[in-house]
């Protein structure tokens, strides 16, 4: 095996650009970022590659590691997998055939619509729901950021994730069935989460893809030539159902029964909490996407998420309603083969008794902090600073308010002490002797 680190992350920090402004630590859904010595630091085992920090960083210091267009030349036959979200980046007059032609013009030999694969997934999910009548609700596995969020923050929901493969892996399998030779399969990715899911999959041993390019990069490459190319014949390949997947609500349209669609990572967290509290048991299916408006709003996209959502909605209307001729896909391609295991990373100590003592200490530390959640200490909230103190990653003096209070008390004590001059040195004050 090659030396794969325990956690691969697409999301990275460009240290030189980081000004230590603390914007990113606040929005991180897993409290995975701290500012230390004036620079952001990502706690690897907590990061879920959702890309929220990329969105908020004013200095563009947070970036996503992806392949670049030149990397596709490593293969004789580079194939592009286009997700529906890519169409959302263009006005609906730009046809999928035109986009496919432009992708061929920049070097891809073949282009496959991920929407086609999403149709197999839709059917597999319906079958899975039928075969697993309880418990409820079950949660879509399509967004890798959500899967990792559950692993990190909602361990008890891991068993509720539907064990059906995400469309990009199914699309890769279809692409490989159709061609031979030295084929390189690349995804045009709206997000770092998908990039990570290719490098380090959850629920399967290995990805069928060779890499992913940033959607923004590919957009920039094909925009200038869109007017010059003739639409390729044979598009669209997919139908309306699969093409709707890229926007929020699209996935659940293919599922019968009561289902809920949620988008935006903080809303997803809220829904996960409700599931955990037992409030959503009358729902069959939960579609959950980390990004605003769904994958169309991924942090590597270019268009405003809601404009992109509308674009895609219109493009999908031009797709056939029924499903046309489809290639056969082996059933096992559609199922996850490995368990989705919770990441056990929050325990304060391996020993439960020690962990409980530390929790007690954490609670006491928290009481000494002002509760302002200002972030100046480099931790996202007072509670997290208390946690960092208990874990030995920070000290209570990292809190500037706490420090100021201590300095004030010390100053008072010094004034007090300064007043207590020994009688022998007293000059006028102290034990003054009255000569009069």
């Amino acid at each position: 095996m090659s030396a794969v680190p325990e956690y691969f992350h697409s999301v990275t920090l460009e240290r030189d650009k980081c000004k230590g402004c603390t914007n990113c630590i606040k929005g991180c859904p897993t409290e995975a970022i701290r500012v230390r010595d004036g620079k952001a630091v990502i706690i690897e085992e907590r990061c879920i590659d959702c890309g929220e920090c990329i969105r908020v960083c004013p200095n563009r210091a947070k970036a996503a590691l992806t392949e670049e267009l030149k990397d596709i030349a490593r293969f004789h036959h580079p194939v592009a997998l286009i997700p529906p979200s890519f169409y959302g980046q263009f006005p609906s007059q730009v046809s999928p055939g035109t986009i496919a032609a432009a992708l061929q013009a920049i070097g891809f030999h073949r282009v496959l619509e991920v929407g086609l694969a999403a149709e197999y997934v839709t059917e597999a999910v319906a079958g899975y729901l039928e075969e697993h009548p309880a418990p409820r609700p079950l949660i879509s596995s399509a967004c890798p950021a959500v899967v990792r969020l559950i692993q990190v923050r909602f361990p008890s929901l891991a068993d509720l994730i539907i064990r059906v493969e995400a469309p990009i892996e199914v699309a890769a399998a279809i692409a490989r069935q159709r061609g031979k030779g030295d084929m390189g399969v690349f995804f045009i990715s709206p997000c770092p989460a998908k990039v990570t899911s290719i490098k380090q999959p959850v629920g399967r041993a290995e990805s069928g893809l060779d890499g992913a390019l940033s959607m923004a990069e590919v957009y920039g490459q094909i925009l200038p030539i869109l007017r010059e190319v003739e639409p390729l014949p044979g598009y669209p390949q997919a139908s309306h159902v699969g093409t709707s997947w890229g926007r929020f609500g699209g996935e659940r349209e293919g599922v019968s029964g009561r289902s809920l669609a949620v988008h935006g990572i903080h809303h997803v967290i809220n829904i996960c909490e409700l599931i955990e509290q037992g409030c959503l048991t009358d729902y069959e299916f939960i579609e959950a996407q980390s990004c605003p408006a769904g994958c169309v709003g991924g942090c590597l996209t270019v268009e405003n998420p809601f404009v992109a959502e509308t674009n895609l909605r219109h493009t999908a209307l031009t797709y056939p309603r029924g499903q046309g001729h489809r290639p056969k896909v082996a059933g096992e391609v559609l199922l996850l083969t490995r368990p989705i295991t919770p990441r056990k990373i929050w325990q304060l100590d391996d020993d439960t008794t020690r962990a409980m003592e530390k929790l007690l200490l954490l609670k006491e530390t928290e009481k000494e902090l002002p509760g302002l959640d200002c972030g100046s200490c480099g931790s996202p909230s007072c509670r997290t600073l208390a946690e960092d103190v208990v874990r030995g990653r920070a000290t209570i003096n990292d809190c500037i308010f706490n420090l100021r209070e201590r300095v004030r008390r010390l100053a008072e004590e010094m004034v007090d002490l300064a007043g207590k001059v020994p009688p022998a040195m007293a000059g006028g004050e102290g034990e003054a002797i009255d000569f009069e």
């Binding site: 361990p155 929050w346 409980m356």
Partner: protein, 153 residues
């Protein structure tokens, strides 16, 4: 006092916490449940224990919010399990056996419109906890205790 299920925990607590709540403050039950969950995760309880405790905490807190005037949720955490006590000042429960039945609810139509009042809270607590007890006086208030025990070995 009506006791259901196994006897409660007795050892000295490592941690006792208290959440105050007022009737009609609907958000407090969810907040308390998710804070409790976070702490149990930090101690390292199994996901299954955490899930059951979260459901019980939420339903117990919700019953204070919906049916009582004000109350407190007390959380007692020790290595062997978790005890939850919901104490309230409120109308009390006239017929506990009836209240324990699935689908029995005295919630008003306006509460039902908000999606509560399915009469599933107490049965849910009974299903998810290893034991529970209710002590109540009509016109004064209700105390509900529930405990979740980590099975050894």
């Amino acid at each position: 006092m009506k006791i259901y299920g196994r006897q409660c925990l007795g050892k000295k607590a490592f941690l006792e916490l208290e959440y105050q709540m007022e009737g009609r403050d609907f958000s407090v039950a969810g907040t308390a449940a998710s804070q409790i969950k976070k702490m149990l995760t930090e101690v390292g309880f199994e996901p299954e224990i955490i899930r059951r405790t979260t459901v019980v905490a939420y339903e117990a807190a919700m019953n204070i919010v919906i049916h009582a005037f004000r109350g407190r949720l007390l959380v007692h955490i020790e290595a062997d399990g978790i005890g939850l006590t919901a104490v309230d000042e409120g109308p009390g429960i006239a017929d506990v056996a009836m209240a324990m039945q699935e689908g029995y609810s005295t919630a008003s139509p306006s509460i039902r419109e908000m999606g509560f009042g399915a009469g599933m809270g107490l049965p849910n607590i009974k299903r998810h906890a290893d034991g529970m007890a209710i002590e109540t006086r009509v016109g004064e208030g209700t105390t509900l205790k529930a405990w979740i025990i980590c099975k050894k070995g």
